[in-house]
Symmetry: C2
Subunit: 457 residues, 2 copies
């Protein structure tokens, strides 16, 4: 184990430069759901940043015209270990804008926190990892392993190009020994969370069209209403406590892995922190403790992300809307796939007479992924966290979030861990997204040690 | 009975002038839900039009700064009968704009139809009635009765100033013998519909706020979602077939009047016309024939006019929205009032644990109103329709729509009828609102005869 004191000092001494680096990325409004020139601009900025730090960086196009991947490699070609680092340069839409205390695409530091869209998800982690490479090489010399950054621009859209990218780059990817995933955070005890899988995602948009045109609502007793219709369909899919009631879904679920339950039994599920962060007095369905944690990490769930129909302007309008739309996402656990869930939902609605409700599946489909909690990469990351922070890693069997881990890693048999610099009030995907400066710097210190540990593994 | 042939010829000869008059009113975007200078501009235009036709016309302010009433009087002060004519100069919002085939605030004539916001509701009827007075006086001389126009600017908002206006003008109104209401139409057999009452209206906005802020939808299994919550609450209020299930509502309903059922038994319910107009194959809940007509005219109903929550932009956003809002209206039949219904809904939701769902009642509250089908004004209107069109009136016990009839008329004991120039494809409150030019002219011919018949009644 080399001496990391110069490495740590370098990070502390150069924090302003690292924050500026993050600020430069945050300033590019790379909202993949909305597209536009910012996507390519962000890809180029990331490529140029990587190149400026000595990486062999290039853009890789999969679908022409769509946001490109950035591939960036560094480290000895003959290293015994190669680590994929997966990140993304795209962000979620900033809306609702009026709830931000400072402009979303301007990094603002307030009370030790760095605010801006993408700070937590995912430009902060990307900056941490690239900067750690710089600190390592400036203070410890040659990297002890080879690193391959895979940085995409459509993670927030469900990574529609990832499966093809992964297929095209199979020769390169298959040679890798592990993957460090983009996300992760620090719990309220200051422990970095270390996770070994994530949920899949099916994004379904439901559309009701019940008449050729809107009607005056005087006819509300005899004409169909698209909003009522959509509500009647959707409320059959979930109980108010969050349990999914999609016909046949339960039969497809894999039994929960006993090793996962062991990790949950010893984990610190920060229920109180979650309640406080969202200003609520109980979790959905009144679930508490381990039961809530199992629901959070290991069971499927369905969110309505947005709904719109009829008149939503000022005042009132006595109208019966002929159309209404709801965007939803369903988080998937092992044995569920986006295709299967879509089929089950379709059949479920048809069986109840909702054949008229259209289901539009976005390209945002992701399979769930899992890594063995006893894999060497888990041990290496765990060691790095302990060494950098003086505290044990908080092991969790799964992330509640989703990502293209199956397509990038599982499909090639690559074990994957996730750790990162968010915390419970990071407000990912929401207004006032932020990370703590201290986590940002600690994240780099963990990264350097992880490079070392994984090289030895 | 005077000879109306010169009167009819005058109307036919001056149709271009009458259409231009309507065009001038349609051109003013007097959307009361959105307010602005167009409201006062429309009031002045109506006052000036009435004055130019010889009426004693003035603006009457109730709430300073809110759209004023136009009061316009004409006819012998010592006439044995005084008729109130109620209309409104405000219109519904034109949205969604993209579904209009021509600009909403520009009167366009296509294939014998006059398109534009307000043509059917209510600037067409207003123009018809004022123009009929002109034609009567130009061809038949002095009016045989006194007429008092009450023209307001917030009918589409639920007439929030009407109760106070009616109280302030009680002395004037109490002297009146009957009222001709603003709305009405022509059925597919060319018969003018004659109605004797209307439904009340409670406009309730439901608001769910379940967390302090939005969350990443990875937590969809454990955090509350405002859209799910709002749906779960609203779907307890109504069965999919349209029957209201608000606790206690049924007990308050007056039994349906046998005289109303008699009228329904002999009426022409144009079910096929309604199906065709909206491009549907069956009415809500599969109701047909008289059962559908009773539901339409004599039972309460609830419409969701609009809903919004979460991300509704392009692409997707994996978010759990903390807030969602639905605008609704409930149409009321005798014995129901807006206050009672609001209380029942509140208690209904509270009983089911939905105390967190806020209910915001707009000022848009209207009581139901009913006139005796055997009142002399009904007979006078019925005669006028027969004489002008050669066809019997289509009597209906009630309108499905709402208006401030209780506050303006019932409260002073004034019997009220409604007849007008809409038809089944008029698309009131919707894009491509229109009336037929032929109905517009026939409406004037009925009006002149009604003035005569009511004066004799």
């Amino acid at each position: 184990m080399p001496d990391f004191s110069a490495f740590d000092a370098y990070i502390d001494a150069h924090q302003e430069r690292f924050v500026q680096r993050l600020a430069d990325l945050v300033a590019i409004p790379s909202v993949s759901a909305q597209g536009g020139p910012a996507m390519h601009q962000a890809a180029e900025a990331v490529r140029d940043l990587a190149a400026s730090l000595g990486l062999d960086a290039r853009l890789v196009e999969v679908d022409p015209g769509q946001p490109p991947f950035v591939l960036a490699e560094i480290g000895p070609a003959d290293a015994s270990r190669t680590l994929i680092i997966y990140n993304h340069y795209d962000v979620q839409p900033p809306e609702p804008l009026e709830l931000w205390d400072s402009p979303p695409f301007q990094l603002v530091e307030r009370e030790g926190k760095l605010y801006g869209r993408g700070t937590a998800d995912n430009k902060g982690n990307l900056t941490v990892r690239l900067s750690a490479i710089q600190a390592y090489r400036e203070t410890l010399g040659e990297l002890p392993l080879r690193i391959l950054f895979v940085i995409e621009g459509e993670e927030e859209m469900g990574s529609p190009q990832m499966a093809r990218f992964s297929q095209q780059q199979a020769a390169l990817l298959k040679r890798c020994d592990g993957c460090w995933w983009e996300a992760g955070g620090v719990n309220d005890k200051g422990q970095s969370t270390l996770t070994m899988g994530l949920k899949g995602l099916a994004a379904l948009e439901f559309h009701a069209k019940v008449m050729a045109r809107d009607s005056h609502s005087a006819a509300g007793g005899v004409l169909p209403n698209a909003i009522w219709r959509l509500m009647e369909a959707l409320t059959t899919l979930r109980r108010p406590d969050g349990t999914l009631t999609i016909d046949g879904l339960a039969e497809h679920l894999a039994p929960i892995n006993p090793r996962d339950l062991e990790l949950i039994a010893t984990s610190d599920w920060d229920e109180q922190g979650m309640l406080e962060a969202f200003g609520i007095t109980e979790l959905l369905g009144g679930r508490r403790g381990k039961e809530a944690e199992i629901q959070f990490l290991l069971r499927p769930c369905m969110s309505i992300n947005g709904i719109i129909g009829g008149y939503t302007g000022p005042g009132g309008k006595t109208v019966i809307p002929c159309e209404a739309t709801a965007k939803t996402d369903i988080r998937l656990v092992p044995n569920l796939t986006p295709e299967l869930v879509r089929e089950l939902v379709r059949a479920h609605l048809d069986r109840r007479g909702f054949q008229d409700i259209q289901i539009r599946e976005s390209e945002m489909g992701l399979r769930p992924a899992k890594t063995d909690p006893d894999a060497p990469i888990v041990h290496a990351a765990s060691q790095a966290i302990q060494e950098a922070t003086g505290k044990p890693a908080a092991l969790a069997p799964n992330m509640a979030g989703s990502g293209p881990m199956y397509d990038l890693c599982d499909v090639h048999g690559i074990p994957t861990i996730a750790m990162g610099v968010a915390y419970r009030d990071s407000r990912g995907h929401a207004p006032n997204e932020n990370i703590r400066l201290s986590d940002f710097l600690t994240g780099m210190k963990i990264a350097g040690r992880f490079f070392h540990q994984f090289a030895q593994s």
